[in-house]
C-alpha cells in the first residue's frame, strides 16, 4: 500500500494506481475526457492536471502514478485556470453547434430540430409534446410569431430557411391524440398570477406541471389577454387560442376572470399566496400604489429570475419590457415557473440555466454540401389552399425533412460541453484563425463522424485496434493538422465492422455519434 495525501487527506493507493483513480476513491472527482478505463491511457486532453504541492508542478493525473509520500492538490484556482485554458484551446478548434442556431435564437429555447425530425417522420403528436415543453401556446405562436429562429437557420444562405414557424403550427394543428405532459404530484403550494395573456398563461401551465396550484386573475371575462383582445381575427383565429387555453386549463389552472386588481387586492394576494406573478401586459399608473419598482413604463426585474423589488413577487411579459413580442412573453412565463420552484425549494433564485453552447458561426459556401447531406434537396414548401393556410401532413413532412440537423447528437453527454460549462470556458478566447473546413461523414442509420468536433484523444483509435477491426481508425498527420481518419480511404462501414456502437459510446464528444 502506498500512502499519500490528496487535498490534505491521507489516502492509501495500490501499486500502479493512477492519481485519478486514487482521487476518485477518496471522493475527489477530477475531470477528464481522454481517459477510458478499458483502454491504455493516452494523456491527451490535459483536463486532469493536478498539482504537486511542494514543487507546484502540474501533471496529468490520468497517467501519473500514486507514489509514496506525494502531496497532491486536485482543485484550486490555478488548476481551474489551467483546465479552463485547456478547454478554451480545444474549443478554439471545435467546429460545431451544441444547440442548433434556430433553437438558440428562439426566445423560448424550443427544441426546433427535434420537432422538425418528428414532423418529418409524421410523428405530429410527439412533435407537439416537444414544442409544448417550451411553448404553451404552439398553435397561436405558430400563427403570429415573427420567427426569429428562421433568421438563424443554417439552410437560409443555402436556399431558404426551413419554415419553422409553420411546422410548429403543423404540430399543433395536425396532432391526433391530446398531448401528454410529465406532471409532478401537486405540492399544495399556491401561486397567484395577475393577467391571462401569453405570459400569465404560460406561467400557469408550467407551474401546474411542476405541481403548483396556479390561480390566474384577469380583468376581462375571457382569458387570452392581448392575444384575445388586441390581435385581429384574420391574423389569429380565436378558436385556436380557445382550444389551447382549454389544454392549459385542463392541467388544473384556476381562472378568476373579470376581477380588477387594485393595491388592496394585490396586498391580499401577497398574503394569501406563496408567490405572485405580475403578468399584466402594460404597466399603468394605477399600479403605482402596489409598490413595484418601475421606470414609469415597465416594472424593473432581476435578469433571469424576474424577481421584483417586492418579496416573492415576480413580473413577466410585456410589463417588464419595452419591445413587445408574444413568444418572449410566453418564454418568460415558462422561465418564471422555474424561478418560483427554486424559491419554494429554498434554492438560489436564478431562473433557468442553460448549458454551455458552442456556436459554429456562418457556413462557408464550400461547406454547404456537407450540411446538405442531412437535409432533403427540396425547395421550401408553401402551404396550398386559402390565404394563411397551414401545411397538410404531406407538405409538413416534406418541409421538415429540409432541416439540416445542425444540433449536436450528444448534447447532454458531450464531456467537452459539460466541462466547458463547469469551468466557464469561452469558445471565443483563442479564436485567432479561421477554422478548418468542416466535414460530415455519414453512415446512414448507423453513425455520423464530424472531424471538426474531435478532440484527438484517440479513444476510438485504441478501441478499434483493441477489438481488432480490420481497418478501424487511425491518426493521420501530425500536430495541429492531425485528424482521425480511416486508413486507405475506406468508408465508415469498413472501418467499423463490429464496433460502431462501442465507439459512439466511447467518444467523449459529438464527433462520433449515433445517426
Amino acid at each position: 500500500m502506498i500512502k499519500l495525501k490528496i487535498n490534505d487527506k491521507n489516502i492509501q493507493a495500490t501499486e500502479g494506481e493512477s492519481l485519478l483513480e486514487a482521487s476518485a476513491k477518496a471522493g475527489f472527482m477530477i475531470p477528464t475526457m481522454c481517459h477510458n478505463g478499458e483502454l491504455e491511457h493516452f494523456t491527451s486532453c490535459m483536463l486532469c492536471l493536478v498539482k504537486e504541492k511542494t514543487s507546484g508542478k502540474l501533471f496529468p493525473s490520468c497517467t501519473a502514478r500514486a507514489m509514496e509520500g506525494m502531496d497532491i492538490i486536485t482543485h484550486d484556482e490555478e488548476i481551474a485556470e489551467a483546465r479552463k485554458v485547456a478547454l478554451e484551446l480545444l474549443l478554439s478548434e471545435h467546429a460545431g453547434d451544441c444547440e442548433a442556431p434556430c433553437r438558440v435564437s428562439c426566445p423560448a429555447f424550443m427544441d426546433i430540430p427535434l420537432m422538425n425530425r418528428l414532423n418529418a417522420a409524421g410523428q405530429f403528436d410527439e412533435a407537439l409534446e416537444v414544442v409544448m415543453k417550451d411553448i404553451a401556446l404552439p398553435g397561436v405562436l405558430g400563427r403570429i410569431c415573427p420567427a426569429p429562429c428562421e433568421g438563424a437557420c443554417k439552410r437560409k444562405p443555402i436556399d431558404e430557411a426551413v419554415s419553422i414557424c409553420l411546422l410548429k403550427r403543423a404540430a399543433a394543428d395536425l396532432h391526433e391524440k391530446s398531448p401528454e405532459f410529465d406532471k409532478n404530484q401537486p405540492n399544495g403550494k399556491r401561486v397567484a398570477i395577475i393577467g391571462a395573456g401569453p405570459a400569465g398563461l404560460s406561467a400557469a401551465f408550467y407551474l401546474q406541471l411542476k405541481g403548483f396550484q396556479a390561480v390566474v386573475h384577469d380583468k376581462n371575462t375571457k382569458a387570452g389577454g392581448a392575444l384575445m383582445h388586441a390581435i385581429p381575427d384574420e391574423k389569429l383565429d380565436k378558436t385556436v387560442l380557445a382550444k389551447e387555453i382549454e389544454i392549459i386549463e385542463k392541467t388544473g389552472v384556476e381562472f378568476k376572470t373579470g376581477v380588477e386588481i387594485d393595491a388592496e387586492a394585490f396586498g391580499k394576494l401577497r398574503e394569501e399566496f406563496g408567490a405572485v406573478v405580475v403578468a399584466t401586459g402594460d404597466y399603468s399608473p394605477h399600479m403605482d400604489p402596489w409598490g413595484l419598482e418601475n421606470n414609469g413604463r415597465q416594472v424593473l426585474v432581476k435578469k433571469g429570475s424576474f424577481l421584483t423589488n417586492l418579496d416573492r413577487v415576480f413580473a413577466v411579459g410585456n410589463v417588464n419590457r419595452s419591445v413587445k413580442l408574444a413568444i418572449r412573453s410566453a418564454a418568460q412565463g415558462k422561465e418564471v415557473a422555474t424561478a418560483i420552484d427554486q424559491l419554494f425549494n429554498e434554492e438560489p433564485v436564478t431562473g433557468e440555466s442553460r448549458m454551455f453552447n458552442s456556436t459554429l458561426g456562418r457556413l462557408l459556401p464550400e461547406e454547404f454540401g456537407e450540411y446538405m447531406k442531412e437535409g432533403s434537396k427540396e425547395k421550401r414548401q408553401h402551404p396550398t389552399g386559402e390565404k394563411r393556410a397551414g401545411y397538410d401532413r404531406e407538405l409538413a413532412q416534406k418541409e421538415a425533412a429540409r432541416c439540416l440537423h445542425c444540433d449536436c447528437r450528444k448534447p447532454d453527454s458531450c464531456k467537452l460541453r459539460i466541462f466547458a460549462g463547469e469551468y466557464q470556458a469561452s469558445k471565443k478566447r483563442f479564436a485567432y484563425s479561421e477554422r478548418k473546413p468542416l466535414k460530415k461523414i455519414i453512415q446512414q442509420n448507423v453513425l455520423v463522424y464530424e472531424p471538426g468536433k474531435c478532440i484527438k484523444c484517440g479513444i476510438c483509435v485504441r478501441l478499434t485496434a483493441k477489438q481488432k477491426e480490420r481497418f478501424g481508425l487511425t491518426f493521420i498527420g501530425r500536430g495541429f493538422d492531425v485528424e482521425i481518419g480511416i486508413p486507405f480511404g475506406k468508408n465508415l462501414e469498413e472501418a467499423f465492422e463490429k464496433t460502431a456502437k462501442e465507439v459512439v459510446e466511447a467518444c467523449p464528444t459529438g464527433a462520433l455519434a449515433g445517426f
Binding site: F42, T43, S44, C45, M46, L49, L58, F59, P60, T63, A64, R65, E81, A82, V85, A86, L89, L90, S92, E93, R429, F430, Y432, S433, I455, K456, V461, T464, A465, E469, R470, F471, G472, L473, T474, F475, I476, G477, R478, G479, F480, D481, V482, G485, P487, F488, G489
Partner: protein
C-alpha cells in the same frame, strides 16, 4: 510491385517494429509511398492498416505523392533563416512555377521542399539538390543553381577512384569530408586531388578526415610533409589543387616530371598569378585568427579533429583509442559509474541530467535484458554537433557506448540517427563493422567475457523523437508520441525493459573521462557544469563552425575571440542559444559565463548547443515566430497545450508580424506561453514558448513596435515597402532582375518600384550596386 514489396519484407521482417524501415525502403524504390504498396505490406506482415497509415503520416520523410526526378531542399535552419532562406524558397517557387500546395514543377523534374537544417550553417542560405549542395544562394541566383545542376547532371557519372601505392610515401593530404566540407565542394577537391595524384604519380596518402570544425573556411585541405609544419589551405578550388600539390611534392619519374612541368608552365603562363593565388588560401595554425579560433577550445569529444580518419581503427588505436574501454574492463561496473559521477558530466542533449546518476538508475534495475541507445536524433535547426561527431568520431562514440554498456549491464545497443544524416549512418555502419572485425563488438570483447553489439535505427523525420520516450516509440515502430514520465526509460524503456539513453556528445566524452580520469574532466568548467560543450556557431559571425569550449566560457569570448566578431562590422544584438527550446541572450548579458544554470536563469537553455549570432538588423519578433513555427510544425499533436497552444501562439505571432495584433493579444500571448510551458506533456511543448518568453523579456519594445504597425529592422515583409532612394544612378540592374516587372526600364533615371506589383523578394535591393534600394 508485389515482388519488390516481398523482397523488402524479406529484408526487414514481418514484425510491427519493421514498419519504418519497410516504409523507407518502399519510398527509396518508388520515391513516394503508393497506397497499393502499403496495403500489400499489411497483407504480408503483422502491421495493420491503421498502424501503417498512422506511422507513415507521422514522419515528415514520407511522401504520399510522387516526387519529381530531383529533390530541391531549401534549408530553413536558423542560420539560413536569418540570411534570407524564405526569400530563396519563394524565388525557387516562382522559378519552378509552383502554385498552391503543389511542390513539383509541371514537367516533374524538380520537387521543392523545406528542410529544417542541412547542417551547413556556415554556407547559409543553403540549398541541396539531390546530393549537390549550393551555399550562399540568393533569390537572384536561385535560377542559376537549377541550371548548374542540370548541366552537372548531363555531364554524367564520376570517374573511378585511383589506387595509391602505400609504400614510400611522400606525405599526406588531408581532406575534410564532414557534411559541411562536402557541401562546400570537398568532394570535387577530393576528385581533383585523386586526379593529380594519378597524373603525377605522386606517392602520397590521401586521407579523409572528419569535420575540422572551421566550417567558415571550407573546403579545407591540409598538406603534411614529413619533418615539416603542416600547411592548411582554406576555401580552395578544384583547379588550384594541382598547384598546391606540386608545390609540396615532386612528381615521380623524370619523364613525367618533365611533362608536368611543361604543362604547368603553359598553364602558369596563362595565369601567372596562380602561385600567389594559392598562397592566399594558405593558413597557418600559428596565425593569429586561426590560433584564436582554436585557442579557447578544448577538444575532448572532438579530440584529434581534422587529423584522424573517421573509420580508421588502427589510427584511432594509435592515438589512444579504446584505452578508456580497456581501463573500464579492469574496473567493476560500480567503479565505472563512480568515475562518471565524479567527473560531474551532465547529459549533453539539453536538459543536463547528471549522466552518472542516470547510469546508476539503469544499473540498479534487475532485468536480464537492458538496452542502451545513443540519441543521434538531432533536429534543432541550427545545430549539427551530433552529426559532426557521428561522421567524424564514430569509433569514439562506440567506445563510449561500450563503457556505458559495461557499467549498466546493457545487453544490446542502438544508434538512433536522424534520417537527414545519411553520411553519419554510413560512417557509423563502417565503424561498427570494423569494431566487429577487430573484436570490439560481439562476443567476449577483448577477451573480457563481456558481450555487446550495436545496431542502427534510422529516424524518419520528427523533431519530437529527440525526446526519449518518443524516440522509443519510434524505434518500436509507432508514431513518435511521447509518454508521461515516470516511469523513466531507466525503469521501463525500449520494449518495456530498462534502457539507458544518452546523447551522442555525452557518449563521445566518456572515453576521455575514463582514460584521462574524472578529475581531469572535473577541473574544466564551472561548479555545477563540468567539462566541455560542443557548440555549432553560426549566423552573423565571421568565423562560424563547430567549437568545443569549456563550460563557463562567456558568449563574448565565443563571439569575439573564437568567432572573430559579428559579420560586416555590425553590432551584436543577441545570441540565440538552444534552438527552438532555448532563448535569446541579449548582448548586454554576453559576459555571463555559460553553463546549464546560467542559461536557465536567462530564460534560455543549453539545448543541444546551437549558437546563432544575431546582429542589429535581425528582428527579434521574427526570430521568435520562426522558432515557434518550427515547434508548432513539429508538435506531435498529442496533448492539448502543445497541439493547439503552440498554434494559437503562432496565430498571434503572425498577427504581430503583420502589424495586426493589439496589446491585448500580446498579453494573451504571454499568458498562453505560460500555460503551454506549464501544462504540456513533454519537453517539446514545455520549452516551445521559451523563444517567445525570452524575447518578450529582453526585447519587449520590439513587440510593442509591431503592435504599432512597425518592424524596426524591416524584416517583417508585411510591414515594409521597398523604395528607391535619391542616390539611384539609373543603371537598370534592378529593373532587369525584378522577376515581376515592378520596376520600369528607364535608363539614367531614378527608378521607381510599383509597390502593387512588388512581391518583396529582395532581389533588387541585393542587386543594386549603390545600395539605393531600402525597406521601410
Amino acid at each position: 510491385m508485389q515482388n519488390t514489396i516481398e523482397h523488402i519484407i524479406q529484408n526487414h521482417g514481418t514484425a510491427k517494429e519493421a514498419v519504418i524501415p519497410i516504409l523507407q525502403a518502399i519510398q527509396k524504390e518508388f520515391n513516394y509511398l503508393p497506397e497499393e504498396a502499403l496495403e500489400m505490406v499489411c497483407g504480408f506482415t503483422e502491421i495493420t492498416p491503421a498502424e501503417i497509415v498512422g506511422v507513415a503520416s507521422f514522419y515528415s520523410q514520407f511522401r504520399f505523392k510522387p516526387a519529381g526526378k530531383h529533390m530541391v531542399k531549401v534549408c530553413v535552419g536558423t542560420a539560413c533563416h536569418v540570411k534570407g532562406a524564405d526569400l530563396v524558397y519563394d524565388s525557387l517557387k516562382r522559378v519552378l512555377k509552383l502554385e498552391g500546395d503543389n511542390d513539383t514543377d509541371p514537367d516533374g523534374v524538380f520537387t521543392l521542399e523545406k528542410v529544417s537544417c542541412l547542417g551547413c550553417c556556415s554556407l547559409a542560405p543553403a540549398v541541396q539538390i539531390d546530393d549537390v549542395t549550393y551555399g550562399h544562394v540568393t533569390p537572384g541566383t536561385s535560377k542559376n543553381i537549377l541550371v548548374d545542376f542540370i548541366e552537372r547532371n548531363n555531364k554524367g557519372a564520376r570517374k573511378d577512384k585511383v589506387v595509391v601505392d602505400a609504400g614510400n610515401l611522400q606525405g599526406e593530404v588531408r581532406i575534410g569530408l564532414g557534411s559541411c566540407c562536402i557541401a562546400s565542394g570537398s568532394e570535387e577537391i577530393r576528385q581533383a586531388v585523386e586526379e593529380t595524384v594519378a597524373k603525377d604519380a605522386l606517392n602520397i596518402h590521401i586521407k579523409h578526415v572528419g569535420c575540422v570544425g572551421m566550417c567558415h573556411q571550407v573546403p579545407l585541405i591540409e598538406v603534411v610533409e614529413p619533418e615539416k609544419p603542416t600547411r592548411l589551405y582554406a576555401k580552395v578550388q578544384p583547379g588550384d589543387i594541382r598547384y598546391i600539390l606540386e608545390k609540396h611534392f615532386r612528381p615521380q619519374g623524370f619523364f613525367k616530371k618533365l611533362k608536368t612541368s611543361f604543362e604547368a608552365m603553359v598553364e602558369t603562363i596563362q595565369d601567372d598569378s596562380r602561385w600567389e593565388g594559392i598562397e592566399k588560401y594558405s593558413i597557418d595554425v600559428r596565425e593569429k585568427h586561426v590560433a584564436a579560433f582554436l585557442g579557447e577550445q578544448i577538444p575532448i569529444a572532438t579530440e584529434f579533429r581534422g587529423i584522424i580518419n573517421p573509420s580508421d581503427m588502427d589510427e584511432y588505436l594509435s592515438r589512444g583509442g579504446f584505452s578508456g574501454l580497456k581501463k573500464s574492463l579492469e574496473l567493476s561496473p560500480g567503479e565505472i559509474i563512480e568515475e562518471v559521477i565524479r567527473s560531474g558530466i551532465r547529459g549533453r542533449g539539453g536538459a543536463g541530467f547528471p549522466t552518472g546518476a542516470k547510469w546508476k538508475m539503469v544499473a540498479q534495475q534487475n532485468s536480464s535484458e537492458k538496452y542502451l541507445i545513443c540519441n543521434g536524433d538531432e533536429g534543432d535547426p541550427g545545430a549539427f554537433m551530433d552529426r559532426m561527431l557521428l561522421e567524424s568520431y564514430p569509433l569514439r562514440i562506440v567506445e563510449g557506448m561500450l563503457i556505458a554498456a559495461r557499467a549498466v549491464g546493457a545487453t544490446l545497443g542502438y544508434f538512433y540517427i536522424r534520417a537527414e544524416y545519411p553520411l553519419a549512418v554510413l560512417r557509423v555502419r563502417e565503424a561498427l563493422e570494423v569494431c566487429r572485425e577487430k573484436g570490439y563488438l560481439g562476443k567476449n570483447i577483448l577477451g573480457s567475457g563481456f558481450d555487446f553489439d550495436i545496431r542502427i535505427k534510422e529516424g524518419a523525420g520528427a523533431f519530437v523523437c529527440g525526446e526519449e520516450t518518443a524516440l522509443i516509440a519510434s524505434m518500436e515502430g509507432r508514431r513518435g508520441f511521447p509518454v508521461f514520465r515516470p516511469p523513466y526509460p531507466a525503469e521501463s524503456g525500449l520494449w518495456g525493459k530498462p534502457t539507458l539513453i544518452n546523447n551522442t556528445e555525452t557518449f563521445s566524452q566518456i572515453p576521455w573521462i575514463m582514460s584521462q580520469g574524472a578529475d581531469k574532466f572535473a577541473i574544466i568548467g564551472t561548479e555545477k557544469s563540468k567539462g566541455t560543450k560542443v557548440f555549432a556557431l553560426a549566423g552573423k559571425i565571421n568565423r562560424g563552425g563547430l567549437i568545443e569550449v569549456p563550460m563557463g566560457i562567456t558568449l563574448r569570448q565565443i563571439v569575439e575571440d573564437i568567432g572573430g566578431g559579428v559579420q560586416n562590422g555590425k553590432k551584436l544584438k543577441a545570441v540565440q542559444i538552444g534552438g527552438p527550446s532555448g532563448g535569446c541572450i541579449p548582448h548586454f548579458l554576453a559576459d555571463k559565463p555559460i553553463d546549464f544554470e546560467s542559461l536557465d536563469e536567462a530564460g534560455a537553455m543549453m539545448g543541444s548547443g546551437g549558437l546563432v549570432v544575431l546582429d542589429e538588423t535581425d528582428c527579434m519578433v521574427d526570430i521568435a515566430r520562426y522558432f515557434l513555427s518550427f515547434t508548432q510544425d513539429e508538435s506531435c499533436g498529442k496533448c492539448t497545450f502543445c497541439r493547439t497552444g503552440t498554434r494559437r501562439m503562432l496565430d498571434i505571432m503572425e498577427r504581430l508580424c503583420e502589424g495586426k495584433a493589439s496589446e491585448k493579444d500580446l498579453e494573451e500571448l504571454e499568458t498562453l506561453a505560460g500555460w503551454t510551458k506549464k501544462g504540456s506533456l513533454c519537453g517539446l511543448g514545455k520549452t516551445a514558448p521559451n523563444p517567445i518568453l525570452s524575447t518578450l523579456r529582453f526585447f519587449r519594445e520590439e513587440y510593442l513596435a509591431h503592435v504599432n504597425g512597425k518592424c524596426p529592422t524591416g524584416k517583417c515583409k508585411s510591414l515594409v515597402e521597398y523604395s528607391v532612394g535619391e542616390n539611384c544612378i539609373g543603371c537598370t540592374i534592378c529593373a532587369q532582375q525584378c522577376p515581376v516587372d515592378a520596376i520600369a526600364f528607364n535608363p539614367h533615371q531614378r527608378h521607381e518600384i510599383d509597390t502593387t506589383l512588388c512581391t518583396k523578394c529582395d532581389i533588387c535591393r541585393q542587386a543594386c550596386p549603390v545600395e539605393a534600394i531600402s525597406t521601410g
